[in-house]
Amino acid sequence: MSVDPRQTRGLTVIDGAMVLIIVLLIVQMWLLSATLEAFLAGHREAALPGAIISGLLFVACLVLYLFVDRVDSEVRRGE
C-alpha cells in the first residue's frame, strides 16, 4: 500500500506546529502562575506586562492553529 507523500508531509508540518503550541502553552502557564504569585505578594506592577505577554502568546497560538487548519484543509481536500 503506497503512502501519499503529501499526506506524510502535511502530518509532519502539523506535528511541528503542535509542538510549538505546546511549548508556548507551557510558557503561558508558567507566566500566569508567576503573575498571580507576584500579585498575591502585593506586586501589582507585574500584572500589565504579564497580560500583554500572555496576549501575544495567545495570538501566536491562534496563528499556529489557523496554519494547522489551513494545512489540514489543503491536504485532505486538495484545496
Binding site: 503542535m18 503550541i21 500579585f39 505578594a41 500584572a47 497580560a51 500572555s54 494547522v68 489540514d72
Partner: protein, 170 residues
C-alpha cells in the same frame, strides 16, 4: 496567504468523522490543536483577570486594636490574636526586650496556622515544613513563596496596638 479554511461543501459530521485512517490522523491533530488554543485563551483570560484585580484597588481600612500590654510576654514568648476581623488569626512574638513582631498566622502556602519556634527563632508551618523569618516574615525554607503579611504595631500608653497590615493578600 489564506488564513481561514474555505467552508467545505460536505456536511460538518462528514468532515469531522472521517472513515479513512489517513484523514482521521488529521482530524485528531486539528481538534487537539483547537483544544490547546482554547487553553491558551483561558490562560490569557486568567492574566486579564489578574490585571483587572490589580487595577481595581480598594484602600482597606484597618481598625486600631490593642493586642497586648508591654511586658506581658517574656522574651521569646508569643501570643495569638485576631486582626483585623475575628476570622483572621495573627501571631505576636516578642523577639527581644524592646522588639515585637506580629504577622498573619495563615501560611502563604496553603493557609495552615504558623507557630513560633523559640529554639530556632523562626515561624514554622507544621503542614508542609515551611519556615518564615521572624524579623520580616520572609519565607526561608519549604514550599511558601511569599512573606507573611505583617501587622503594624504601635506603642500607645504601654499598650501594643495593631494599626494595619502590610503585604496583605488581596
Amino acid at each position: 496567504m489564506k488564513w481561514f479554511r474555505r467552508p467545505s461543501s460536505a456536511p460538518l459530521w462528514k468532515d469531522e468523522f472521517s472513515v479513512f485512517t489517513a484523514d482521521e490522523r488529521y482530524v485528531n491533530r486539528r481538534q487537539f490543536t483547537k483544544f490547546l488554543t482554547m487553553t491558551s485563551f483561558a490562560m490569557f483570560a486568567g492574566n486579564l483577570w489578574v490585571l483587572a484585580r490589580s487595577l481595581v484597588r480598594r484602600a482597606p481600612v484597618y481598625p486600631a486594636q490593642p493586642v497586648a500590654a508591654l511586658g506581658e510576654l517574656p522574651v521569646g514568648g508569643s501570643k495569638t490574636f485576631f486582626y483585623p476581623t475575628s476570622a483572621e488569626p495573627c501571631i505576636l512574638v516578642r523577639t527581644a526586650a524592646e522588639s515585637y513582631a506580629a504577622y498573619s498566622q495563615k501560611c502563604t502556602h496553603l493557609s495552615c496556622a504558623v507557630y513560633y519556634e523559640k529554639e530556632s527563632n523562626r515561624l514554622a508551618c507544621p503542614c508542609h515544613q515551611g519556615y518564615f523569618a521572624v524579623v520580616d516574615g520572609a519565607p526561608i525554607q519549604g514550599p511558601p513563596q511569599r512573606a507573611l503579611p505583617r501587622v503594624r504595631l504601635e506603642n500607645k500608653d504601654g499598650q501594643l496596638v495593631a494599626t494595619g497590615m502590610e503585604g496583605e493578600q488581596v
